[in-house]
Structure formats: C-alpha cells, structure tokens
Symmetry: C2
Subunit: 190 residues, 2 copies
Amino acid sequence: MPQVSVRGKLIEHAETVFRRQGFNGASVADITNAAGVPKGSFYNHFKSKQELAAEIVRRYSRGTDVTMLAGEGLSAVERLRAHFAAQASRTSSTGVEYGCLLMTMASEGPTVGDEVGTVVRRSLAAWVGVLAPVIEEGQRSGEITSQEPASDLAAFLIDAFEGAGLRGKATRDEDAAMRSLNLALNAIKA
Amino acid sequence: MPQVSVRGKLIEHAETVFRRQGFNGASVADITNAAGVPKGSFYNHFKSKQELAAEIVRRYSRGTDVTMLAGEGLSAVERLRAHFAAQASRTSSTGVEYGCLLMTMASEGPTVGDEVGTVVRRSLAAWVGVLAPVIEEGQRSGEITSQEPASDLAAFLIDAFEGAGLRGKATRDEDAAMRSLNLALNAIKA
C-alpha cells in the first residue's frame, strides 16, 4: 500500500521539520524533501500544511511519556523530575536546536491557525492535567510545601522547563531546561 | 526627509508584526502593509528581512525597562517583581497574543539566520546580566535564600516568566507570565 507509506513518511519526518523551523518556517517542500517523497504527493494525503501540523501536534502530545509519573517506589517530586528528564532527553536526542514542538507552535500564535492552535491549547492543558495529581499527592504527603493550587504549580513547572528549553534553543545550551526545572522543583518542595 | 520617515515607519510597525507572526510568518508585504508604505520601498532601507529583524530585536532589547531594578527604597525581590511587571505590561499592552519578541524569535531557531540569532542570544545574556547583580544583593542581605549562582537564578526567573508568556500566548491567558514569575520569586526568597 504505497499511499499509506507516503503518509507515514510525511508524518514521520514532519515533526522534526516543524520543531526545527516552526510552522511558518517549514514549507510543504521542506517536509516532502525530508520525507523523500514527491512534493505533488502531499495533497493526496493532507488538505493543507495545517492539517498535517495539527496531526503532528496531536501525536507529539500523545507521545508524552507519562510512565515516570506513576513510578513505583519513587516520591512525587522524584517522579516529576524523572518525567521532565524523559521529556528533555526526547527533545535533546534530536539536538537542542530542535526544541519542543508545542512551544515552537505556541510562539507563532495566531498565524498557525485555529486547527493547530486548538490542539496546542488542549495539549498544554492535558500536560497540566497529568502533572497536577502527582503534585497534589506531594502536597498531601508534605513533600511539596507550596500550598498554591496544584494546577498552578504544574503550569509553573512546565513554564520553567519550556522557557529554559527555548532559551537553550537560542543559546545552544542543552542543559538549560533541566537546570531551570530543578530550580523550580527545589522551590516548591520541603 | 521622506526616506527617513519610511524607514522609521518600517521600524515602528515591524516589532508588532514580528511579535504576532514570528520571523518566518511575517512577510515583507505584511510589514510594509502594517507601516502603510509601498512594498517596493522596503529594500531602499534594509538589505533583507533579516537585517530589519536584527535591528528590531536590538531595539526591543534596549527597550527593556531597567529603571525598576534600581528602585529606591525597595528590596531586591520587590525590584525584580516590579521589573517583570513592567515587562509584562509592555507585552500585554498590545494584546497577549503578541507575546515577547525574544522568545518568538528564539523558538524559530536556526531559520531566523545568524544575524538575528546572535542578537537574540546577546539580548538574553544582557537580560541575565542586569538581573544577576540585584539577585546577588538579595542573597547578601538574606532576602533571597537560594544560594545557586545569581546568573542561574536570573535565567530561572526569565524562563518561568517567558515560558508562561508563551503558554499565555497559546491559551490567551494574559496573567500567566506574572503568576509563574511570582511563584518563581516566592521560591527563591526567604
């Protein structure tokens, strides 16, 4: 089924192209070149660059490794740290200049269009949603001393991690994200 | 001197266009339309979109209001908070969807080119550089209890603020940046 294969190649390669170049900086030709498929084949599989980008963001978000958040025998803070470390290695495995797809798309604001923007918003909300229960557990056990709402603290961890990730993308500092995440984690715990 | 006026209009309007749309999402036509000048006049004043973008980032960075950091009669933490509040109101005065120019450019990574990338890196380093002495002062006085290097803590405050600003850009939450900045400030102080 060659049609499935072309679609698969487009999805496989579009993530790194979008992460490196952003939505507006990535042309359909950049994506088909990276995928090694004819440019003309793109529109057999996707209505638009937006449709592909929305699909890529959905997959990227679903690919968030939440197994660390349920780690047996680890404290809430240790699980949060392990979760972000897994995210950091996912990002840096392709080189720090690629950065996180969610933030790259978020930064382009309204120009990514409603379809992509909605997926980015939902993905950020889902990430807050999986972190908050772990933070609540840490608050109940006394390991996390901050009594701010768990969802605010979850967003704060994401912000410190992602803000540093972007700074690292600009300055080619691949340790920036975990350095700031650790400062944020140390800040909310006992 | 109409030539100066066209150049001035381009500089005046390019900042908001780049902030809203990013470097790659903003065409020369978008900028000349926003400035209300003929498209053909652009290249009389700038060699390229990159040259204009580098100039805009330099001006944006120089426009960082550091007066709050020297505020008489305020503690180090109070001055840091006032500084970021001034930055937040600078950003939100044009609407949260415009976001911070530095992060918007940083997220586009290598596609903004070396000229713009270098100015972004220098601007981020300069921002860390003006915050660090205030943090050191707070560490000496005991107001800031974290003993991490002041430049790391400065970067951490920027990351929390900018990461949240980008999240707010995606979710249209204009209070996100100051909420995370306040969590970060509360975290490093006594």
